[in-house]
């Protein structure tokens, strides 16, 4: 499911906000997938899953024949093959999932921090610097 990100100009105050919130959503969904892996830690034959994202720049022409660059964001659910499954075919390891949870959480907070600082700047400007 690839969806275009609304093209806001790079010089508007709202540039990048849309993109940051997309990533926030992506990390929230990744957390769900990790939770799903943890829930299936004893399910025979279950392979651990993860979500990956892809950003693509595509160039199209608008009605007036001008070239428009669009950024598309897409997510994909992948079955991981980086871990050797144990005897019952299950490849979920508690340690790996925990490490991914922590990494995901940190990325989420980093984006959250960026968003709130950016909004803070806008707020400052909107209040005439008061």
């Amino acid at each position: 499911m690839s969806q275009p990100i609304k093209a806001t100009g790079t010089n508007t105050p709202f540039a990048g906000l849309d993109r940051l919130s997309k990533f926030l959503g992506f990390h929230a969904r990744r957390q769900q997938v990790i939770a799903g892996n943890m829930a299936n830690i004893d399910t025979p034959g279950y392979r651990s899953r993860d979500v990956t994202f892809k950003e693509e720049l595509s160039s199209t022409r608008d009605a007036k024949g001008r070239s428009v660059v669009q950024l598309r964001f897409s997510e994909e659910l992948v079955v991981m093959d980086d871990e050797t499954p144990d005897q019952d075919g299950n490849s979920v390891s508690l340690e790996t999932q925990m490490a991914r949870t922590v990494a995901n959480q940190l990325r989420f907070s980093a984006i959250n921090e960026l968003l709130s600082r950016k909004l803070g700047m806008l707020k400052y400007a909107a209040r005439d610097g008061r």
């Binding site: 980086d82 390891s93 340690e95 490490a99 922590v102 990494a103 959480q105 940190l106 980093a110 921090e113």
Partner: protein
């Protein structure tokens, strides 16, 4: 390129390996007196063989580095194999035992309970160290996010 997330991955690979060591120590302990194993003879003590493994080895950075003949820097650990030891079986005199040989001796696994306990504790401490490492890295990243607050 190594990021704060690489550290997490390395630590988790170590914890996974230590868990396997724990499993094997428990297996040896449980089979201290096993005279009949799956392959017929007496149970043989198992040892965990660990090897280094590059974490994130499908990443661009690692391919670039290997193309430029650089030494790998992000090394985690993985269990290469669980091998049977070559220690000779201990002979125990017990003529009444169904597995005794004509001279009355039974082959018993050469497993020392003390050695297995030591292995178990060393695995538990190393596991703990890995967990602590993850917590510390997380705290570090949180501190970085608070810069300028």
């Amino acid at each position: 390129m190594s990021t704060i997330f690489t550290t997490l991955e390395i630590a988790s690979s170590g914890m996974k390996a230590q868990r396997t060591r724990m499993n094997v120590a428990a297996m040896n302990m449980a089979n201290k007196n096993t005279t009949r194993s799956a392959d017929g003879g007496v149970y043989r003590r198992r040892d965990v063989i660990l090897e280094t493994v590059e974490v994130d080895n499908n990443g661009f950075a690692s391919r670039l580095r290997s193309a430029m003949k650089g030494a790998p820097t992000n090394l985690g650990v993985k269990v290469q194999s669980v091998q049977e030891s070559n220690d000779p079986a201990r002979l125990h005199y017990d003529p009444g035992h169904p597995d005794a040989n004509p001279e009355g001796y039974v082959e018993m696994p050469a497993i020392s309970g003390i050695e297995e306990m030591v292995n178990m504790m060393s695995a538990a401490r190393a596991y703990e160290a890995g967990a602590k490492m993850m917590t510390t890295v997380k705290t570090m990243a949180e501190q970085a996010l608070r810069i300028g607050r």
